[in-house]
């Protein structure tokens, strides 16, 4: 167990190192970063001076080393546009994004898990049919379109919720619904097939044959085992939601990291873009690490399977 945790930790560090290479590469993809900092009519001499000042004349690996050494300490430099440390900007906006993501994921779970389980229990019923149509639509509707539709119907048409901004609890309803819909569909589908699989297991049949009440068999025996695979996809789902938040926040003018990122990309604010990508990736890695560890606790067989690889 300890060996597994240690190996998993090391692996996460490796992933973060890889992320840092890509984040570093982002800036250099633009060619010469000094061109972004100086006005177009800057003299050749000034450009050269700035290059030297920023250390851009050093070999790439030296620059990378310097970048990494600073990034580890949370220093991604000043945002070109706002002239404050990039990380500070992120920490200002991160709570809004986490709130939205949590609301989206929470909504998805609250709706999808019961829906998936019920449609597995009442297979081929009307409810099951409705759920599977819902799943198909949910997986086919892009978040930006669903967002626009929600605005058209519930903000412009009915006036129940605000169309944009983050002001009071009503403002989170539409963005969270738009963001959570895709996950909702996926989770409902997983919950349904997971439950069906478990219900077909021998131990469920044995329990039933032994005369244990159906209610107990379903909710105590089957549900617990069906929940295990759901735990892992929540980690992956969280990553998808963080990505989806970029678009959702743009549509609903939600003041989170996603909107900050879009704004940073369009204003060529590369230190900020780098910092955001790094922070979101780190968040993803940490959450998945935690979930993996929880998972091994729930289902101890996993450790052996994975180390056998």
């Amino acid at each position: 167990m300890v060996g597994y945790v240690g190996r998993r930790l090391l692996q996460s560090l490796g992933v973060l190192l890889g992320v840092s290479v890509i984040v570093f590469g982002l800036l250099h993809l633009t060619g010469d970063p000094t061109r972004l900092l100086l006005p177009l009519e800057a003299r050749e001499e000034d450009v050269r001076q700035l290059r030297a000042l920023l250390g851009l004349d050093d070999p790439l690996w030296v620059q990378y080393g310097r970048f990494l050494a600073r990034a580890v300490r949370g220093d991604f430099g000043l945002s070109f546009k706002h002239q404050v440390p990039a990380l500070a900007l992120i920490f200002q906006t991160l709570p809004a994004t986490l709130q939205l993501t949590a609301a989206g994921l929470g909504l998805a779970l609250v709706v999808a898990v019961p829906a998936g389980i019920l449609s597995a229990l009442k297979r081929n019923s009307l409810l099951d049919a409705l759920c599977s149509v819902g799943v198909l639509l949910g997986q086919a509707m892009p978040v930006y379109w669903l967002g626009l539709l929600l605005i058209m119907v519930f903000a412009v048409g009915l006036g129940w919720f605000p169309a944009a901004g983050r002001d009071g609890w009503t403002s989170i309803v539409l963005p969270a619904t738009a963001l959570g819909a895709f996950s909702m569909a996926r989770i409902a589908r997983m919950a349904r097939s997971g439950m069906l699989e478990v219900l077909a297991q021998d131990y469920v049949r044995t329990a039933r044959a032994a005369g244990i009440r159906t209610f107990v068999v379903t909710y105590k025996y089957a549900l617990k085992n069906a929940a295990i695979p759901l735990v892992t996809i929540i980690g992956l789902e969280f990553g998808i939601l963080l990505g989806g938040a970029v678009i959702t926040e743009t549509i609903f003018a939600w003041p989170g990291v996603g909107r900050l990122a879009v704004d940073a990309i369009f204003s060529r604010d590369y230190p900020l873009v780098q910092a955001i990508v790094a922070v979101l990736a780190t968040l993803f890695v940490v959450i998945n690490l935690v979930i993996d560890l929880v998972y091994t606790y729930l289902d101890p067989r996993i450790v052996y399977v994975r180390s056998a690889r």
């Binding site: 890889g18 982002l26 993809l29 198909l136 892009p142 990553g239 678009i247 549509i251 990309i265 890695v285």
Partner: protein, 290 residues
């Protein structure tokens, strides 16, 4: 008695419904694909033609709607139907090319990782983890913006950020295929690794590749319109569904049809591809988890 009565439907029924879904998916996809291919012949108007006297006309069944513009016109007086038909060319074309590219990258890396194992495997799988961790949409936006949004760059970036799915599935499959006897047999006959991979291992890993490719196509269509929607896709005047949605966004309060119809087109296409993908998975390899 009651036991058999409740048990029976569990075993027999789903088959037929699945094939209806598949038929629906295939039919819709053929229709959408056909109308994209023949868009120049089918579209009633030039998709770029602006008719400023006929701006923001609603669909023809509404008051003020015009017969010659069945789905209405946008803020520049361009025919929505014609733009949707032409937009399908980009969505499907970019989607298909991007999936092909990402399959090429992913399958190659997955084959190498699964077949050779050891260090190659460890390295490739860590790269996979890195790509899983980075929000691909941000990476794509950053790269497209840096390189400049063009058809080619959009396809390259989409392919380069989504190959992970292929690599994972192929690797897992190859891990078991390489242990099979026919591979050992082919090796014993003196086949070299490359030939072994291409002639014996790859053909046996084809099923999951086809399934993943179909489901990824649905994803790529959404991905492409998302980039377009954010202003980083294929640039105007080429009509794309994502751009149309972005235009429509400014008119959600006054002209609902601007954002509704292109979105409907995206949803229908994705739905059709998904149905087809689900069916392929259920028939070819029901155990596959994608």
């Amino acid at each position: 008695m009651s036991v058999t009565a409740t048990m029976l439907p569990v075993v027999a029924r789903p088959r037929r419904r699945v094939s209806f879904r598949a038929a629906f998916g295939l039919g819709a996809l053929l229709l959408i694909g056909g109308s994209a291919v023949f868009a120049p012949q089918l579209a009633p108007w030039d998709p770029a033609r602006q008719m400023l006297t006929k701006r923001l006309r609603p669909p023809m069944w509404q008051a003020r709607g015009l017969r010659e513009h069945p789905l209405g016109t946008d803020h520049l007086g361009r025919d929505i139907l014609s733009r949707i038909l032409h937009g399908g060319r980009i969505s499907l074309g970019v989607g298909l090319t991007a999936v092909t590219l990402s399959a090429l990258i992913g399958v190659t890396l997955g084959l190498l990782a699964g077949f050779f194992g050891g260090r190659a495997d460890a390295l490739i799988m860590r790269i996979v983890d890195v790509f899983l961790a980075i929000p691909y949409i941000l990476l794509a936006m950053g790269v497209v913006f840096a390189l400049g949004p063009s058809l080619l760059n959009v396809i390259l970036v989409m392919g380069a950020t989504r190959w992970v799915q292929f690599a994972r599935i192929v690797r897992a499959d190859v891990l078991s295929i390489r242990e099979r006897e026919f591979v050992a047999g082919a090796r014993a006959r003196g086949n070299r690794p490359l030939r072994l991979l291409l002639r014996h291992v790859l053909p046996n890993a084809l099923t999951p590749i086809i399934v993943v490719a179909t489901l990824e196509l649905a994803f790529m269509i959404i991905y492409e319109s998302a980039l377009s929607f954010l202003g980083l896709g294929v640039q105007p005047p080429t009509p794309t569904w994502g751009w149309m949605l972005a235009d429509g966004r400014n008119y959600v309060a006054t002209a609902w049809w601007l954002a509704t119809f292109p979105g409907l087109a995206i949803m229908l296409t994705v739905l059709a591809v998904n149905l087809l993908g689900d069916w392929l998975r259920d028939t070819l390899d029901p155990r596959l988890k994608v």
